[in-house]
């Protein structure tokens, strides 16, 4: 029983480490583009670039970043 618990604990730790590594790599991977809008009342809205709305913003932003202001 004690051995089984130890193995389960080890398995959990490995799964946690794998998940953390995956999250870290996803965070650093290219293609992560986001749009954050803050409204006058302080509320915010985030748009992912894989949405039509978000892509409209990121397309224009990329062009501006290319040439500068």
């Amino acid at each position: 029983m004690k051995k089984l618990l130890r193995r389960l604990f080890l398995l959990g730790a490995l799964a946690g480490a794998a998940y953390a590594a995956r999250s870290y790599l996803q965070g650093k991977s290219p293609g992560k583009e986001t749009v954050q809008i803050v409204f006058d009342d302080g509320s915010t809205r985030a748009l992912a670039s894989n949405t039509v709305e978000g892509q409209e913003f990121t397309d224009i932003a990329r062009k501006i970043l290319e040439v500068g202001l």
Partner: protein
């Protein structure tokens, strides 16, 4: 070198943008757009099509205002767009204009936005003085 047309003092707007860039080293370029969507001042280099940049900035401001309306808000006060190439930041000015800046991908964006919000008052003051003349 900054350029401008429209209300406000050219030198004063240039100075405010230069001060902002000196304060916030992560800013690569910055500009001021009027409420009528005219590019009043920008720090772009030679060879950059001013009209095109002004039109793209105006399109972004219009898009953000559309999202605000769709969400039942009066207007957008700040816009942040993160891309692989860098960040594009917009802070709304009184009268519907905007202070815009671009940074590289590794910039400390929170700090840049803080500096932009601090410079906003000065930009608004210059624009108000220009429109009173």
């Amino acid at each position: 070198m900054a350029e401008r047309s429209g209300a406000g003092s050219t030198e004063e707007l240039d100075r405010v943008l230069a001060d902002l860039r000196a304060l916030s080293e992560d800013i690569e370029s910055c500009a001021v757009l009027s409420g009528a969507r005219d590019l009043l001042s920008s720090s772009h280099g030679p060879g950059v099509d001013r009209e095109r940049v002004g039109a793209m900035l105006a399109a972004l401001v219009n898009l953000s205002e559309r999202v605000a309306r769709e969400n039942g808000k009066d207007h957008t006060s700040q816009l942040r767009i993160d891309t692989d190439e860098g960040h594009l930041l917009l802070v709304r000015l009184d009268g519907g204009g905007a202070l815009a800046a671009t940074t590289g991908p590794e910039a400390r964006v929170g700090l840049v936005l803080y500096d932009m919000r601090n410079s906003r008052g000065e930009v608004e003051k210059v624009l108000a003085e220009g429109s009173n003349q």
